[in-house]
């Protein structure tokens, strides 16, 4: 039992490492995400006069994080599809949900690296970055990548491909925005952080359990 669990996490880590290595060699997604997140913040500064209210700035941060994450998720299964890597992965002697876990971990790494730029940039441009916002971003990342990876796998088998992902993802991401914005601006962020943790737990379990059905033909 213990060995099986160890093996499972080992498989997931190997798969995640493969994606991170591919990114390090190709440098396709991460630079785009970083540029996008900064450009997005600048655009929002001009689109919404945020000088009066910090609350509006908090909202913008969450919008920009969500859309940047979508950039990574849209690219997540491109290699698998274009080079028919998925067939190989499905034949590999590992649990299929490990593929989901590995991919989620890789996207989480990209998203976290992007936020290392985005959060300081936000603090400089809009002023003020509380600990509760940082905690909420960490929790929200988990929810974004778990749900997002599953939906990206779904979208990658459709005819309309990546076009579909935002449509599938945004309605499911509304609770993340509520929790995130709440944690950023409310006086008692605890409730909102707990809500984000609940979201993560519920959707991680259901994504983990259902990935196998999505990819098998």
């Amino acid at each position: 039992m213990k060995d099986a669990l160890k093996r499972y996490f080992h498989d997931a880590a190997v798969l995640a490492r493969k994606d991170v290595l591919l990114e390090l060699r190709g440098r396709e997604t991460l630079p785009a995400m970083v540029l996008f997140v900064v450009a997005g913040l600048v655009v929002f500064h001009f689109a919404v006069p945020t000088d009066d209210s910090e609350d509006v700035g908090a909202g913008l941060l969450w919008v920009v994080i969500l859309f940047t994450a979508m950039l990574a998720l849209v690219r997540a299964f491109v290699a698998e599809r274009e080079q028919r890597l998925m067939d190989g992965l499905l034949l590999a002697p590992c649990d299929r949900s490990a593929i989901w876990l590995g991919k989620s971990l890789a996207v989480l790494v990209f998203l976290a690296l992007t936020e290392l730029v985005a959060l300081p940039a936000y603090a400089i441009f809009f002023g003020g970055l509380g600990w509760s916002t940082v905690a909420a971003v960490c929790l929200a990342n988990v929810g974004i990548v778990t749900v997002g990876t599953l939906l990206a796998a779904m979208a990658s088998v459709t005819r309309s491909r990546e076009l579909l992902l935002p449509l599938l993802f945004l309605p499911l991401a509304i609770p993340i925005v509520v929790g995130g914005v709440g944690a950023s601006i409310a006086d008692d962020p605890g409730r909102y952080l707990a809500f984000l943790a609940l979201y993560d737990a519920v959707f991680a379990i259901i994504s983990w359990a259902s990935f196998e059905y999505v990819v098998s033909e």
Binding site: M154, L172, P175, R191, F195, Y213
Partner: protein, 218 residues
């Protein structure tokens, strides 16, 4: 067709009760839309729940019939959901003077669900028919029923963010005659939903049978 006859009879009873039996509320005549709006919303939830249940059964047993049933249930759920949005908007316009009210949880909820299940159709119709489409649709339906309580919680949390003093409508304090009317209306709406489900399912099965026969002939 028994279900359709029962639905028709119940609908007639419900309309009669709403028109003649239920008392006129202090809000005036417009409150009577309650007897349609709320049962429609509950029927929509029932449809989404049924869709998820059938989806789950598909994933479990792999019978393509369950997938078709799941699709038909979700389809009806979206129609009832749209009706909820329309009746809710009308009610908001009469009661508060504008067509949209972010404070109305039910309306916001159905907007999110409507967006979610519209994406379901986009997803379903951009995958070739077959086991993979059925599995993906079923998984998406399951996400839907999980999203319902999570969104409900989110809306409540967001509401306390926007309006510090949570404004609450009066609870389920209904006079006996109101409750009777409501229950009959709800039963009527559920019966209508079920009858439509059966009819749509029969039509879809007929379609499929016809296609199979054509393929045999060709």
């Amino acid at each position: 067709m028994v279900s359709a006859a029962v639905a028709a009879a119940l609908a007639v009873c419900a309309i009669a009760l709403v028109a003649y039996y239920a008392p006129v509320d202090q809000d005036g005549l417009n409150q009577k839309i309650f007897y349609f709006h709320v049962p429609i919303a509950l029927t929509a939830y029932a449809c989404f729940g049924l869709g998820a249940l059938k989806g789950f059964l598909y994933l479990w047993k792999g019978n393509p019939e369950r997938d078709l049933e799941s699709y038909v249930a979700v389809h009806l759920g979206v129609i009832f959901g749209l009706l909820t949005l329309v009746t809710g908007s009308i009610w908001a316009k009469i009661s508060w003077g504008h067509w949209w009210e972010w404070g109305d949880r039910q309306l916001v909820m159905f907007l999110i669900l409507f967006l979610f299940y519209c994406a379901y159709f986009m997803l379903r119709f951009s995958v070739e028919p077959g086991p993979q489409r059925a599995a993906i649709s079923s998984v998406f339906c399951l996400f839907g029923v999980v999203l319902i309580p999570i969104s409900f919680l989110a809306i409540r949390l967001a509401e306390s963010l926007v309006h510090p003093v949570a404004f609450t409508r009066e609870g389920p304090q209904m006079a006996g005659s109101q409750l009777t009317t409501f229950v009959v209306s709800l039963a009527a709406m559920l019966a209508i939903g079920y009858a439509l489900y059966r009819i749509e399912l029969a039509g879809k099965r007929l379609d499929q049978r016809l296609k199979e026969l054509r393929e045999l002939l060709a």
